[in-house]
Amino acid sequence: MQKLKNAIPSLSLLAFLIALWWVVVMQTDSLIFPTPLQVVTGTMELAADGTLWEHIGSSLFRVGCGFLAAVLVAVPMGLWMGRVDAAYRTLNPIFQIMRPISPIAWIPLAILWFGIGEVSPIFLIFIAAVFPMIVQTASGVHTIERRYLHAAENFGVSRATLFRRVILPAVLPEIVVGMRIGLGVAWLVVVAAEMIALYSGLGYLIIDSRNAGNRYDLVIAAMIIIGIIGLMLDGLMRLLEELKSVRWRYGR
């Protein structure tokens, strides 16, 4: 009930903006810009003939593959860099330079290497997600408090136990934060990546709707769906933060 009450201001603002949009479109007699109703009917159309689900499905599939590959590379790499100073000193400057390069800038190279197909967008998502996760994981290892490492050293545990019982659980909250950031940028990038000629995906839907007869109702529908799915993915990652093995990081 309280949650509902808290949502009232933002829901009212949303309703107001939709109303404003509607009024402005009606007043200006725009031929191209759709009203909210047209967006809804356009969406229903796509949902009815099944293409909407196809687009959503292929976008999620690409994000899933690219993100998973990024996790599999970034977590071990980050842990290694966090533990071995020589690895950190060697690799960190390179990753710090690669990280600010927008994944969009990689598009020409992706096309050159992988052509137009499924691999290119997955590669771009991988590139987008892998660097923030490496950096976050490595800094997580660096911020493990010395008193915990000292205690482990004092008890003379094996390297395997040290890793499994101390380092990994200590870094897990940072890894989850990195995954949340990584999935966020992955979702940003999939849409951009799909704008270069493919046959499906929400990004493709946007470009295709514009090219094929100015269907701006579908452009806006796709934008809204992208926003909602992005929010849901973030919510999914927040659920990970609620796990007991991660909660310890967030105070008493």
């Binding site: 050293e153 004092n154 008890f155 003379g156 019982r165 310890w248």
Partner: protein
């Protein structure tokens, strides 16, 4: 000199060159097996550094530490450190924390052993709690129990109770004596609390300001439980405080 712990002419500087800060200026001492020794000294005098060297976490510039006659340069489960800030792993439950040091076989039923020690420090019923669900005093008990489980021969305690409130710290003193009654350990306690030292220790060493040396040694022979208000102990307290320049 023979004893459980023998320290020979330890010196330690921080930094190097002419700007180096001498911290420990030649300390020698010997602690017998099963003895409880307290070290008191003004803050910043290097008592923590001395203990880090004795427990193997830091290396002296000169001198050596012998435990059971063997030169020691690294920490080992033979002597467990209990520090002021605590190092109970927040991501493990109480029981998992207590089982942490029980690596390898030959401990029998590890969970049962952990639970035995949890009960011993008064944490029965909290075996599956996470540290964030416990109070400061309970966390300290977990830390002590985790050390005791591995049956260390030596306990190094660096101001173990100073982060607790006054009442809890009094309570923990009594608890510690009760636990040590059950299992005799050699204990080295670093503290700035003279009364705590008098209440617990068999011998009290007073350190000088930096670079620190042993300035005076007092024996406490009264039976436990000691009454701090007794004239002898009050006199002892006065004497120690005088050494500390009060």
């Amino acid at each position: 000199m023979d004893g459980k712990i023998v320290v020979r002419q330890i010196k330690k500087k921080f930094g190097s060159g002419p700007a180096a800060l001498p911290v420990v200026g030649g300390v020698s001492l010997s602690i017998a097996d099963g003895e409880f020794v307290a070290i008191v000294g003004p803050s910043g005098c290097g008592k923590s550094t001395l203990m880090k060297i004795m427990s193997g976490f830091e290396q002296p510039d000169q001198g050596e530490v012998l435990i059971d006659g063997v030169r020691t340069t690294r920490p080992s489960p033979k002597g467990i450190v209990i520090s002021q800030h605590g190092s109970v792993f927040p991501w493990l439950t109480v029981q998992q924390n207590l089982m942490f040091g029980l690596n390898g076989d030959g401990h029998g039923d590890k969970a049962a052993l952990a639970d035995h020690y949890a009960a011993m420090v008064g944490l029965k019923g909290f075996e599956n709690s996470y540290p964030r669900e416990l109070s400061g005093g309970m966390l300290k008990r977990v830390e002590i129990a985790r050390a005791l489980v591995v049956k260390p021969e030596i306990l190094y305690m660096d101001e173990p109770f100073s982060a607790l409130d006054a009442l809890m710290s009094l309570r923990m003193r009594t608890e510690l004596l009760r636990i040590l009654e059950e299992e005799r350990h050699t204990v080295l306690l670093i503290t700035h609390d003279v009364e705590e030292a008098i209440y617990l220790a068999d011998r009290i060493m007073v350190l000088s300001p930096r670079p620190t040396t042993i300035q005076a040694t007092f024996s406490v022979t009264q039976e436990h439980p000691r009454k701090l208000s007794s004239p002898e102990l009050q006199q002892l307290k006065e004497a120690i405080l005088t050494e500390l320049g009060m």
